[in-house]
């Protein structure tokens, strides 16, 4: 699982960063040390682990740094350009930038790239690229113009491919984007036109790219908030021709498009991207890690003081400007297992009664983004071959529904949703459903009065939603304390986080009985306990007497526990609350993550819940199969697990409260008596086993017999 750790601020002093933010953060030749160039005159070398600057250099007043300082990994020197044309090279010992090596170039520099394993590469604004060594040998050499007049370089990056640097830069001209790939081993420059597909209006706000053996995967974040991927071959088929590449949708609506400070995107590894920007138009800026393969949000962090819309990623650290301070958030992506991702699975019984929601099939969903509807699994290679395929229009009905969701009344939405659910499911059904729910929830957030409850319920019952597909849904339900919705979510979602389970539990325990009575809760997991209580009580008593094994000193305890048992025999909660709590008992969790949250529940609620669990436990032990009556009751294991969990989490608290003390005591007595029964059963089992053995021997040990055998 990818996770963001607690961030820290790098410099105590406020950087002289203007509204444009920083010019850049670059690695130095020593690990853990980074060159930070602000948009004014200063370059600072930071040591991240110490959180302090090691050196600072400034250009003279009147000069301005135009390109972030980089480190020449081959010599260990630093290189910076100021006033677009003046190159400065210095090292750690130098104090004053005025006195270091200076070279004035004949053309304006856009960027200097420096990566491990090669000399720094200087990209000029006109698109030409030179190695630093060659440039320094003859600073005034003529620099040719590569790109046309109106083209402006928007973004650039350099990679090492087979130990040779490959430089890519994107230019823009009148809303059209072009990618240039410069190979240095063969000195080939190839030009590609980026086709934007149908969303012509959207402006690309940020680029990032990663490389594998054959392709540069260029990701772009557009103003509609979606991430698109474009695959650019490293080795062009025909370098002379102007080639065109299409982009495919990778992730939808990860940020709000019209952010003030712009949004940015950085690829972290094969499957993860970091996105900086506000997730919703109104909300604060947020750093989010998305898994592109599963299309899930892995981690996010709110940055309330705003950012400059810039993000750098080196090693395991994400660098950004948070407010006025340079902030570093360490990012970790551990190897994840499916079991770890899912936590404790739901009880297998659930599988029978409720279909498990399907997980997002990333292959079809990506295919949908591209507009394919092919039946065979569209593997990456397949996708690449079909890059040139034009984009089909998206499913119109769902589009219409999406717009309905944004504007219309609750009643109308409900009707539309019903219509949508009635038609045959398309392959992108899951995505569309997710989009609708996201849209609805977004609107709920924006308009407090808007809450299309029945539409949402219908959508949840499609079994295709999961918590990670629409995390805000449960949040909204929690805000509105809509217990019915929460119960449904707990029943339908396989991946509700432990913290949310616990919040639900809190609400279920604290909500008033009268408000519960008004709600319409699914009661199938609760059978009418109170009816059976009376007649079964009698049976129970005789049963215990009949056991007749209880030693003398336990008799007293038994009597007490029986009294307590009688007390517990009436359900401590009303059936509706019981149904809600059963939904909690049924949900999947993993103990480690649940325990800390359980500690936050108030003591009297813990006691109530324990009472209820004790009641269920007693009910379970009333019949031989140790099950509860009803259609979908909690199992004994679930009850036991939860008792243990509650006691584990709140033991000290529970021990202190007087009313819980009595409960604990009777619980203990009951458990003890159960253990007694079990040990007796153990003995009986052994006797039966001997009996069985004797029986077998009798069958087998006959030395001679005449039998009838019929052969067929």
């Amino acid at each position: 699982m990818a996770a963001l750790e607690e961030g820290f601020t790098l410099s105590a002093v406020c950087l002289g960063a203007g509204p444009d933010g920083l010019l850049g953060v670059e690695q130095s030749d020593k690990t853990d040390q980074f060159l930070v160039t602000d948009s004014g005159r200063t370059v600072i070398l930071y040591k991240v682990s110490d959180q302090k600057p090691l050196g600072s250099w400034s250009v003279k007043q009147g000069q301005i740094i135009t390109c972030p300082a980089v480190c020449n990994f081959q010599t260990g020197e630093y290189v910076v350009v100021h006033d677009s044309k003046v190159l400065r090279i210095w090292n750690n010992e130098d104090v004053n930038l005025d006195k270091v090596f200076k070279a004035t170039l004949s053309a304006e520099v856009y960027r200097i790239h420096s990566i491990q394993g090669t000399e720094p590469l200087v990209l000029f604004k006109e698109g030409a690229v030179r190695g630093l060594e060659a440039l320094l040998a003859e600073p005034q050499q003529k620099i040719e113009t590569v790109i046309s007049d109106e083209e402006v370089i928007k973004w650039t990056k350099v990679f090492m491919v087979f130990r040779h640097p490959v430089l890519i830069f994107i230019t823009e001209k009148c809303g059209n984007y072009f990618a240039y790939v410069q190979m240095f081993n063969s000195n080939i420059l190839s030009k590609y036109t980026l086709l934007l597909g149908q969303e012509e209006k959207s402006i690309i706000q940020s680029f990032t790219a990663s490389v594998d053996r054959k392709f540069i995967s260029l990701m772009s974040l557009t103003s509609d908030g979606c991430i698109y991927e474009t695959l650019i071959p490293i080795r062009p088929n025909d370098p002379e021709k102007n080639q065109r590449v299409v982009r495919s949708l990778l992730l939808k609506a990860v940020v709000s498009g019209n952010a003030r400070n712009g949004v940015t995107l950085t690829v972290l590894d094969q499957d993860h991207v970091a996105v900086l920007g506000p997730p919703l138009p109104a909300s604060k800026e947020c750093l989010a890690i998305w898994n592109t393969k599963f299309q899930t949000l892995q981690a996010s962090k709110e940055l309330p003081q705003g950012t400059s819309g810039q993000l750098w990623y080196y090693g395991e650290n994400l660098f950004m400007l948070h407010g006025k301070f340079l902030t570093i958030i360490p990012y970790k992506c551990e190897v994840s297992s499916l079991a770890g991702a899912l936590g404790k699975l739901k009880h297998s019984q659930d599988l029978g009664t409720h279909a498990m929601p399907h997980f997002v099939n990333w292959e079809t969903s990506q295919g949908c983004g591209l507009g394919f509807q092919d039946s065979e699994p569209s593997k990456r290679i397949l996708r690449r071959r079909k890059i040139e395929v034009s984009v089909e229009p998206e499913h119109p009905a769902s589009k219409q529904l999406l717009s309905t969701v944004k504007k219309d009344s609750e009643k109308h939405i409900e009707v539309e949703v019903r219509k949508f659910l009635a038609v045959k499911r398309t392959p992108d059904f899951q995505i569309v459903t997710g989009d609708i729910v996201t849209g609805l929830v977004g609107r709920c957030r924006a308009e407090p009065s808007f809450y299309p409850r029945s539409a949402l319920m219908q959508l949840i019952q499609t079994h295709v939603l999961s918590y990670s597909l629409c995390p805000a849904l449960m949040e909204v339900a929690l805000e509105k304390t809509d217990v019915q919705m929460l119960q449904l979510c707990l029943q339908q979602f396989p991946d509700v986080p432990e913290s949310v389970i616990c919040t639900c539990l809190k609400i279920f325990l604290s909500i008033g009985d009268d408000s519960l009575q008004e709600t319409d809760i699914n009661m199938e997991s609760v059978s009418n306990y109170s009816d059976t209580v009376q007649d079964e009580k009698m049976e129970e008593q005789t049963e215990i007497v009949q056991n007749g094994f209880s030693p003398e000193e336990d008799n007293r305890g038994q009597g007490e526990s029986q009294a307590a048992a009688e007390e517990a025999a009436s359900c401590p909660v009303i059936p509706k609350r019981a149904a809600l709590l059963n939904a909690i008992l049924h949900s999947a969790y993993s103990e480690t993550f649940l325990l800390p949250h359980l500690k936050d529940i108030p003591a009297q609620h813990i006691t109530l819940f324990l009472q209820y669990l004790y009641f269920l436990y007693l009910k379970c032990s009333e019949n031989a199969t140790m099950t509860l009556p009803g259609i979908h009751p909690p199992t004994l294991n679930q009850i036991m697990d939860w008792i243990c969990l509650l006691l584990d989490a709140n033991f000290t608290v529970v021990v202190m409260i007087p009313e819980a003390k009595r409960l604990l005591l009777s619980l203990y007595k009951f458990v003890k008596s159960q253990i007694c029964i079990c040990s007796e059963l153990n003995k009986i089992e052994v006797s039966f086993r001997e009996l069985q053995k004797l029986n077998q021997e009798k069958n087998n040990r006959e030395l001679y017999s005449i039998e009838v055998l019929e052969l067929f």
Binding site: R701, E707, V708, L709, E710, L711, F712
Partner: protein, 686 residues
């Protein structure tokens, strides 16, 4: 097929002897196994682990060591102080030679196979030269203080290691002097035991000596310096045996707790050249002491007091999933120990030193499938016939009429006449057996009990006419010129005209008994014959081989029958071919030549030749009873193989009459109950 009354016999109180030594021969892929009663068995690992030869035991000849030398010559040595060489062709003992060192505890053949080394009770290590037809004493090595319990040659042949009590000696072969004496720690789990017995040593080519001892240790010694290199404590009881693979990359040890441990030479880290001996796999296939282990290229072989021979394939060495990839546990001999008189309903049981004659019971009741019928008369033990002398019985037979019993040991042949007078039985030995009738490998009476056929270990077949209380030698078929192979399986046709005899490898010979001539020879097949029978009226010879193939050969036509060709063309059902015990007996009922009864240790089958053959898609064996009448008919006519697995382990099965079967079972639990108690190990929870 219909209903049968089955006499289910469990009173055959047979207990196999414990395994004392195993020796694997790489050249022929054969395994020699010696048992505590002195029996030596040869298993052919290439022929489906068939026990193709055996040498009967002898009371005074306790084998302590067994080894192959000079290619495929087999030697054993024992506590009577003799070294014995076995004749694998004639199936007898070639010679026995006293080593003059008291009881022999260990023996090892040199890597070249030309020398034999024995370790004796008096502490001497004696070197013998193996000559083409004998062995010759060469010299003694330095005499040690106590008995030499284990010996191992260095693969280069320059040194030997000898395990004694409390120490291991390393000898230089050239000089015969001990160059190192490596003392073994007596400490056992912190307690000092009286003695530490070195049960086994193995000398590796790099000079390492591995020893296993009574304190539960496996120790690695450097023979150049005489120092202990490494110590593995693997058991709370004795480690009794060790065997190293030819590549010296793995070895196996057996402990008194019944556990077999596999050690392997593995790299310390991946892709490093430094290697280390690591205990990799424990196997618990035995309940008692594992007295002997062997290491074939693909399997670990172990045997011990619990009488099982266990062949555990090393899965990493097995390339294809076939027969050889399965674990084998061989408990019962692959030959018949029981004969039956159909007429009188008698069973003759053969034990190592006595014979038992039982009369089967009877019932008048009838019942349906699965019923046990009430007995009107219980089975009766009629006779207990003890052999004279120390030799084990090789074979025995009762005549179909029930009035003759014949058996043979390695040196004497006995024939008895039985007479029944109401409840009394009198037994009269037929004396003055001719000189040529000294030892028989197989005895058979003709169907009318008038003739006796004896396969002697010189390869000849004798025919004897039995008269009231006497006999007359009719003829002797001499072996084919140039062969000395003994015949160990005989079959006679019910009309008494044909006699079929088979050795272990060459084809089956069919003799005409009337004109006393060799009639024909069934073409040799590359797997040994496990059972033979001649069908009534048709005179078709049915032959079962150890690869589970069954052939039918028409004796009058001198060719395979049409049915046999069909089944060979179509192939047997794959489940039939996957059975892992050989067919040990084939039988017919006189009136039903179309029905062949055959059985192995875990099933019996009646083949109805009139029905279609099963193919791989049909269900060969359906243990469930049929549900309704149409199902009964469907199954009855489905295919020719009518199989039942109700009786197991099945040692003998025969048709007493058309609707009566006799099945002799020997439940494993009964055998275990008669073994000495195993070392008690604490189990969790007890």
């Amino acid at each position: 097929m219909g209903e049968f009354k089955v006499h289910r016999v469990r009173f055959f109180n047979y207990v196999p002897s414990g395994i004392r030594c195993v020796a694997y021969n790489n050249q022929s892929n054969r395994l020699a196994v010696s048992r505590t009663d002195g029996t030596v068995e040869i298993y052919n690992l290439s022929a489906n682990y068939f026990q193709e030869k055996f040498f009967p035991g002898h009371e005074s000849r306790a084998t302590e060591a067994l080894c192959w030398a000079k290619g495929q010559r087999l030697f054993s040595a024992g506590l009577n102080g003799e070294i014995i060489e076995y004749d694998l062709q004639a199936l007898n003992i070639k010679y026995a030679m006293d080593a003059f060192g008291g009881p022999i505890w260990s023996m090892a053949a040199s890597p070249s196979g030309s020398q034999l080394l024995v370790g004796c009770e008096d502490g001497s290590v004696k070197l013998f030269q193996i000559t083409p037809d004998k062995i010759q004493f060469e010299r003694n090595f330095d005499r040690q203080k106590s008995r030499i319990l284990s010996l191992s040659w260095r693969p280069s042949g320059t040194h030997i290691a000898a395990g004694s009590i409390d120490y291991i000696s390393v000898f230089d072969v050239k000089s015969g002097s001990a160059i190192h004496k490596m003392l073994v720690d007596r400490q056992y789990m912190g307690v000092s035991k009286r003695k530490c017995i070195i049960w086994g040593v193995a000398f590796l080519s790099d000079g390492t000596v591995i020893s296993v001892d009574s304190a539960g240790k496996v120790q690695f010694w450097d023979s150049a310096t005489g120092t202990l290199v490494k110590n593995h404590l693997i058991a709370n009881a004795d480690v009794q045996s060790i065997a190293v693979s030819d590549q010296e990359d793995s070895f196996v040890v057996g402990t008194a707790e019944g556990t077999v441990f596999h050690f392997q030479l593995v790299s310390v880290t991946s892709n490093s050249s430094e290697k280390q001996w690591v205990r990799t796999k424990p196997f618990q296939h035995h309940t008692h002491d594992v007295r002997a282990v062997a290491h074939s290229p693909t399997a670990l072989i172990s045997g011990g007091t619990d009488t099982h021979l266990v062949i555990r394939p090393l899965m990493e060495k097995v390339e294809v999933k076939n027969y050889d990839a399965a674990l084998r546990k061989i408990t019962f001999p692959h030959r018949r120990l029981i004969s039956c008189s159909k007429k009188k309903q008698l069973l003759l049981f053969q034990f190592a030193h006595h014979l038992e004659l039982w009369q089967l019971g009877s019932t008048v009741a009838t019942g349906k499938n699965g019923d046990t019928l009430p007995l009107s008369k219980d089975a009766d033990h009629l006779l207990h016939l003890k052999t004279k002398g120390p030799e084990n019985i090789i074979c025995s037979c009762i005549s179909p009429c029930g009035s003759w019993i014949a058996y043979s040991t390695a040196s004497r042949f006995f024939l008895y006449r039985l007479s029944y007078e109401r409840d009394n039985i009198s037994l009269q030995r037929v004396s003055k057996m001719p000189a040529f009738l000294r030892s028989a490998l197989q005895i058979l009476f003709s169907e009318d009990s008038a003739k006796l056929f004896v396969a002697s270990n010189q390869g000849s077949l004798h025919i004897i006419r039995l008269l009231e209380g006497s006999f007359k030698h009719l003829h002797t078929f001499q072996p084919q010129s140039g062969t000395v192979e003994s015949m160990c399986l005989l079959a006679v046709s019910p009309d008494g005209n044909w006699l079929a005899a088979s050795g272990t490898s060459a084809g089956v010979h069919v003799y005409n008994v009337k004109n006393l001539k060799l009639h024909c020879t069934v073409p040799a097949y590359n797997f040994p014959v496990t059972a033979l029978a001649i069908a009534p009226s048709t005179n078709n010879l049915v032959i079962a081989h150890s690869d589970q193939q069954v052939f039918e050969y028409s004796i009058p036509d001198k060719q395979y029958t049409e049915w046999s060709r069909t089944i060979q063309k179509q192939g047997f059902h794959h489940l039939w071919l996957q059975r892992d015990t050989p067919i040990t007996h084939i039988s017919f009922h006189l009136k039903r030549p179309m029905h062949i009864l055959l059985h192995d240790a875990y099933m019996f089958c009646i083949i109805d030749k009139s029905l279609p053959l099963p193919n791989d898609k049909t269900l060969l064996y359906n243990p469930l009873p049929p549900k309704n009448e149409s199902d009964v008919i469907r199954r009855r006519t489905a295919h020719a193989f009518k199989i039942s697995k109700i009786y197991k382990p099945l040692l003998f099965m025969d048709l007493l009459d058309e609707r009566t079967l006799v099945a002799v079972e020997r439940p494993l639990d009964d055998i275990i109950a008669q073994l000495p108690p195993p070392i008690k190990k604490k189990k969790f929870g007890t």
